[in-house]
Subunit: 330 residues, 4 copies
């Protein structure tokens, strides 16, 4: 049994907390949260205790910490945790500053402890299976990747103002998926964006609708589109074209019911948001982390994956700001 | 160029008339119809002449006749045509009486001229391809066939009264498809029926909703369901289960447009009725007839196929009437 | 917290045991099984104790029992449990003998304790939603129900010999679904069956492929087909036609991945078997039972539902045996 | 009856020739082609005569000409035809030079005769229906358009060298569709391209894989991707997102057959190429032209539509060449 401490008992913390208990291989030992009631409720549910962050990071009866606290605490907590000998799972991103990420990863490397970044989508059963088939050669050499990601509704402008902007807050997941699917680093980033959903987002200095074009050294192309609006559920799809064919992963409908009337054939909307859509992904993600901790293998996505996605998000932000493509080292 | 005479210029006659011209291998020479204006209009459209039925049957410059006249004239016209040395294509059925069909087929056989019966569905591109894959062994040994056929709306009760009843008028197509797909003769027929769509049909002594269970000697099973009502287009589907898998043929939607809103995902209704759904089938059917005439090979479905479907329709009618299954010789 | 005793820690018992713990509203108190290790393992996993059947049935600190033991113990355990004041959830069937079921239900009624029968399919999210829409009138008056149910592979002939036969062992679920969807009692049952999958099943006196036709008093029709073989996953579907349209519930694929090559477009097989397909159904089923216990409302499906499905299975067995339809009181 | 002269009896000329005859409202009078046999064959098939180009353009018994000759003859033939009082349908493009197109359109305008450009895709039944629903407001205000177009196999490099490049030769159709669907002029064009399919295309100075990002003044975004390779049929799809939902138009499969085995569920490839996919579109396109000629209404797409698509193709070519976005007047 791997003994787990949880830092942060908010929405995402509660998901991971439940998955610890459900894994059959780990035990939730302690929970910390700035809101004591939140920590208390989660701890009770799974027979854990509450503690403050420092106590969990320093505890000798804890093997691994899950960092689910606000973004601006991630890098510090990662550093403290690896220094204390803990294996670390951290929600994305390590930091909004890529310089800060680099410093943090240097310390992680020096400590030699595993760090896994929570790009949950890689563990979606459909996305993971599609990637597996690509790597198995079923569509030949990858040529073009198209990723679509639309939230059901926009976040409040107050959130947007602190988020780092759509490219760093939302599209970073898709940029990670692009790397995952392309199997090659993008070296050229074009971006367009607009504020079409909520004028308040524009007033907060951000966009709510955006598209990016990526190109790799060998000429592979990726298209990403994002919107803060989708009426028919949380829209998360991609399709990948290769020399021998195409593979795509679709949304999951609420049910498989289909109704036919004079108006035609109607099926259900997609699952409403990430909690429903990625419930299985979160379980598989945590299982992968546990497996890495048990076996000593490096977890994936790694801290470097977190850094590279952040650099692409920075490049997209810059490309959008200047209206000109950004070239990267690759 | 095969020279064709057309007996009957109604709805189905006009379809075949157009397909003669479009075939590139046949020429429409003469058209007969009880309504002179109908014959005239169709003849003009394709550069043919009008003539009476006897003149067409007896013409020396005509190689083949297409019988698209009312059902009660079919057997007589088949006999007259084969006696006059013509190749014959006849819309189903040869007759509502199986005794009359047997007599007619005996004369056809004695004359040695080709007779093809218009079970158009065998030539639907999807249905034909499904059958081809079954025969190619893609689903292994056939075990169960399920056929569904629903008209968009009921015919007038006056039509129903003269039709021979739903099993002979409508389900006969599905009974032919069951034979086509099973690859074996049914020997047991169970039937249930009800009048759920139009009480006038019940008053005319018929049902508008029915289902049949068939079983062959080797134990293969077929399910057929019929209704005189479908709100979402003409519904014509089947699925066939075998030892290695399943093959099915679906409806064709009006367009491939899909719309997604809060109400879910909506696609188009199926094509509205047989003229649209089976337009390609009618062309392929006529091409097959022409090919048989040219090569001297026996056309299929044959007169015997027409007889066997009729005997199954008779059995279903009887099974429904008595509430007890009917056994057939197979 | 409702305190639950579990009788039977086999495959289905373990599912229900896990759902007790996961419900958040009930606690697993004690587990009994003829195999002590099975009871022990399940009890430990959820912090329960082991006990023998009589102790659980008679315990004063247990509110409800879940009967997941072999079929031939169900009726006795139901009777003992309701006499001891317990609410009872029992896996289907109450008994293979409808006379025994009637006696048992009389005792249940006399004791006035809730009894729910485990027809899990009614709680499948897609099936339940389809039924909800039917009852809401979205397809108008129901006219025809078609249910298809295919297991991935046949059980061993030794199992078949004790099972009561395909109609009672397998099709009973579909007969219950037919009642659920028709909203009316069938009064006429036609059946055909064959042994096409495993000759050993035939030697054990049973069929492995079967189809049934049902008709209700008002003329509604249901078609059911069963097979002990499906290569492409566990096949569980239905479609229901009404005066205004059609509703259907489809299978759930392993993933939403689609691959396109020269061979066409390929999607995943269906979920492999009932544990995967009905995982959500079992959770919803238990939640319904808990809700009934808490509120005092009668659970559904009831003991009477269990009896009526059994009577239909008896009728289908008889119809198949005699080759003649069986009429029921309705 | 509108009397039609056909200039060019190649692949596309034969399609239009057949549609003239099939329209029921027009008659093919004369056919010209540099290859006399081609003109002769087509003329015979439809009872027309052959003539040289000048004779057809100048004929007094011809109302409309269809220009299906090589691209470098289009502008001259348009000018000569409108000067001679003919209504003109011209295959895209008017010319590879936008300056030449402007000059030509000035003459067309001066002559006051109708000119329609053959962007056939606007008339695809699914594409046209999707656009109709967008204009009817079914998805609210358009926000993002994604168009995908993949040819089954690359053209020979010799063709590519004379084609004006992928953006002018192939993507011009998608650029026209983007304008059609956006309902607004793009003002910003980003492009990436690569040679991934056939090195010979790269040696000929072109790309075979490309993607473009467009943005309109109001911030609407379009993504287009093209490839000269698709193994699963001719791939022509789009999806359009708006404030209230999404509409998409899919490919048309060869048949509706679906086969299920241990490998999953498999459906047919898409129709193989444009002749099959756009057969209905060509008929509808010609019907629209005839209707414009009869009624005197301006046909659409117009010469200006042809010019605007060409300017976008020029911009994409330039954006790809320089690696920097191109701004347009809008």
């Amino acid at each position: 049994m791997i003994r787990v401490g949880l830092l942060g008992a908010g929405r995402i913390g509660r998901i991971h907390g439940g998955n610890v208990a459900g894994s059959g291989k780990a035990r939730l030992v302690a929970v910390a949260d700035a809101v004591p009631e939140a920590a208390q409720a989660l701890a009770q549910q799974f027979g854990a205790k509450t503690a403050d962050v420092d106590a969990i990071v320093g505890a000798t009866d804890i093997d691994a910490v899950l960092i689910c606290s606000p973004t601006d605490t991630h890098a510090d907590l990662i550093e403290a945790s690896v220094k204390a000998g803990k294996a670390v799972f951290c929600e994305k991103p390590v930091d909004l500053s890529s310089a800060r990420i680099r410093d943090c990863l240097a310390i992680v490397e020096a400590c030699g402890k595993p760090l896994m970044i929570g790009f949950n989508r890689r563990f979606d059963p459909s996305f993971a299976e599609a990637e597996r088939r690509i790597r198995a050669g079923e569509i030949g050499a990858v040529e073009m990747v198209t990723i679509l990601s639309r939230d059901p509704s926009p976040p409040p402008p107050s959130y947007v103002a602190r988020s780092g902007g759509l490219f760093r807050d939302m599209m970073i997941h898709d940029l990670d998926m692009a790397r995952f699917l392309l199997g090659e680093e993008p070296v050229e980033v074009h971006a367009v964006g607009a504020c079409l959903v909520d004028p308040g987002i524009g007033e907060a200095g951000d966009v709510d609708t955006a598209a990016v074009l990526l190109k790799t050294v060998s000429g592979k192309i990726a298209q990403i589109s994002n919107s803060r609006r989708a009426t028919y559920g949380y829209d998360q799809r991609f399709e990948v074209h290769g020399s021998k064919g195409m593979v795509r992963a679709q949304n999951v409908p609420l049910t498989t019911v289909e109704i036919a009337t004079e108006a035609g054939f109607r099926t259900d909307p997609a699952l409403p948001f990430f909690l429903e859509r990625y419930a299985q992904a979160y379980r598989a993600e945590f299982a992968h982390f546990l497996d890495a901790v048990e076996t000593g293998r490096s977890p994936s996505p790694s801290g470097q994956d977190g850094l590279k996605a952040q650099l692409l998000a920075d490049a997209a932000t810059e490309a959008h700001r200047t209206g000109r493509p950004v070239r990267l080292g690759g």
